[in-house]
């Protein structure tokens, strides 16, 4: 694999402090989201900072398996600290209060009160993060260790979509998020693939997929059939 190919495959991890007490925390969170969603969606991933302590080993390895940029609201730099403690070195450490100086004075903690000052602050910080991402990619930044393919995933649990399954509804394939997990849980509880198990299958699937009341009967039948196949019947 060439260096170019390798750097293309490397995703930059962005970890935001999201501090709840101050507007800068909200700016850090929203700027990170903007980079992930809009500015550099193909090059970035994230992880909830509290997961470093509360999560499993795969989550703690996040910063070892990604070159990482931390984005902190204030000079306490909790995201940088947490990342370095559990993940090793940080490639870039940005602090909102340094970037914006007094520019955060009119910003709000809650998005409910969001105004032009908040938008300007988020845009400025997001651009700085994106510039950091570009610089790291340009430098050919490499993770400290390769991800373990057998691990539970070093990517953000929130950002990782649940596996999708499909059922055949009235002759058409319909995808339902998390269906394999639903089936696995039902199977572990010994739920039968028949009319007695159908109501629970339907109720559980409805947590992940909107089902109109008039469609429930058809969905129930389709779920039972898919569940029967899942069980190997």
């Amino acid at each position: 694999m060439s260096d170019g190919e390798s750097s293309t495959a490397t995703k930059i991890g962005i970890i935001s402090c999201s501090g709840e007490e101050i507007p800068e925390g909200t700016v850090s969170r929203l700027a990170t989201r903007r980079v992930l969603e809009t500015l550099r969606p193909g090059n970035t991933v994230t992880l909830c900072l509290p997961l470093f302590l509360a999560g499993n080993e795969g989550e703690r390895n996040f910063a070892r398996t990604h070159p990482t940029i931390t984005i902190d609201g204030c000079d306490k730099q909790c995201a940088r600290w947490g990342t370095e403690k559990h993940g090793g070195s940080v490639s870039r450490a940005l602090v909102v209060s340094d970037i914006l100086a007094t520019g955060v004075a009119d910003c709000s903690r809650s998005s409910r009160s969001r105004g032009p000052a908040d938008e300007a602050a988020v845009a400025a910080v997001a651009e700085r993060i994106a510039a950091g991402v570009d610089a790291l990619i340009g430098e050919g930044a490499k993770p400290q260790m390769e991800p373990d393919p057998a691990a539970d995933g070093a990517a953000c649990a929130c950002m990782k979509p649940a596996d999708t399954g499909s059922i055949c509804l009235r002759g058409e394939e319909v995808e339902i998020p998390a269906l394999p997990v639903v089936f696995a849980q039902c199977a572990s509880r010994g739920l039968p693939a028949d009319a007695t198990g159908a109501p629970l299958l339907l109720e559980t699937a409805k947590v992940f997929h909107y089902i109109a009341p008039e469609d429930e009967a058809d969905y129930q039948a389709a779920l039972v059939e898919a569940y029967r196949l899942f069980l190997g019947g």
């Binding site: 709840e20 925390g25 903007r34 929130c158």
Partner: protein, 149 residues
């Protein structure tokens, strides 16, 4: 015995319930936890509740650790990983009530609350509902009750 205004203010501050959301960055559940917290501490019960940066607690900041050890806490988590609850408990704090947004959303099937970036009208209504529950739980905790189960 007369109590000075300063002492009364200190007592009221010490009696506040800390509402700590996970603010999970990946999905709408995290944003709901965050905005529900602001509804509580800024609007519904500003004198009775306060919030704390979870990241500061994760860092092990001495003041933050002291805060959770000396106040009753309510954790609002987006998902079952319960990062807010776990980190409060790891810091030696007691979680008087733990709320999971993902579970609460089962009461709102069919509604689209938004994304991790922005809430819809439905999302704001859900955040407010969760906040009302949290404010009620905070009142119970302040009165020495266990809160609703």
């Amino acid at each position: 015995m007369r109590t000075s205004a300063g002492e009364m203010e200190k007592e009221e501050t010490e009696d506040r319930v800390l509402v700590i959301p996970c603010s999970g960055i990946g999905k709408v559940q995290g944003l709901l936890s965050r905005e529900a917290t602001y509804f509580v501490v800024d609007e519904l019960a500003p004198e009775e509740t306060d919030t704390l940066c979870l990241a500061l607690l994760v860092k092990g900041d001495a003041d933050a650790v002291e805060e959770v050890r000396t106040h009753r806490c309510i954790a609002i988590d987006g998902c079952s990983k319960a990062c807010a609850q776990k980190n409060v408990e790891m810091a030696g704090g007691q979680v008087g009530k733990a709320i999971q947004v993902a579970s609460a959303l089962r009461n709102y099937r069919g509604l689209q609350p938004g994304t991790g970036t922005a809430l819809t009208k439905d999302g704001w209504a859900i955040a407010r509902d969760i906040a009302k529950t949290v404010a009620a739980e905070a009142a119970c905790l302040r009165e020495g009750k266990d809160g609703e189960q």
